[in-house]
Subunit: 112 residues, 2 copies
């Protein structure tokens, strides 16, 4: 197995995850959530944007599997979802591994 198998729909996941991570506000949300679960309005308070904007960011984060939310009563609680992190970590690991394997082979040739 040279690399993680290309499962159907996986590519789309990679796109969703890295697109979600591309926005600084969404990364701020993830940084806050890594300290523990937070409600939507508590999440919005320190950010200088409206609650509606935060909800939109949360939609993107949830679609990409980086955040999981659950609504109990009238408050929605948000927490980090490991699945999205794994997708990003795996893609980066694949790039690094292929690249470093190549450097190894190059080293072998130079050693001769």
């Amino acid at each position: 197995m040279p690399e993680s198998k290309a499962m159907p729909g996986k590519q789309a996941d990679v796109h969703r995850v890295f697109h979600a991570l591309g926005d600084p506000t969404r990364r701020l949300i993830l940084e806050k959530l890594s300290a523990g679960p937070v409600s939507v309005s508590h999440l919005a308070a320190p950010l200088n944007i409206t609650l509606a904007a935060v909800v939109q960011h949360l939609q993107v984060l949830e679609d990409s599997g980086l955040v999981h939310t659950e609504k109990i009563g009238r408050v929605r609680t948000c927490r980090i979802d490991s699945a999205g992190l794994s997708v990003a970590e795996q893609w980066l690991a694949d790039r690094r591994s292929l690249w470093e394997k190549r450097l190894d082979r190059l080293g072998d040739v130079l050693d001769e």
Copy 2:
């Protein structure tokens, strides 16, 4: 040290790296480069965009430390730069580590 130290300018690096990774064409370029160094025009050939567009993507990738390029004669050779990968990997690892530490402490409480 609970987390990687917050060095000055580090935040900007994180932003540059994840913004660069957010575009599907730039990720394709990195995937191609993880197989080995390639010239700009060879990089552009399989992509359905102009050479100028590829050059612009390369500028973003180089500014973020994900790619290193070197011009010899009239051909510029592009290769993956591990530094950019490390920035992304570190940020993800920090998020995961904080999150999982929290789950551990929660487990400890529940065990009592």
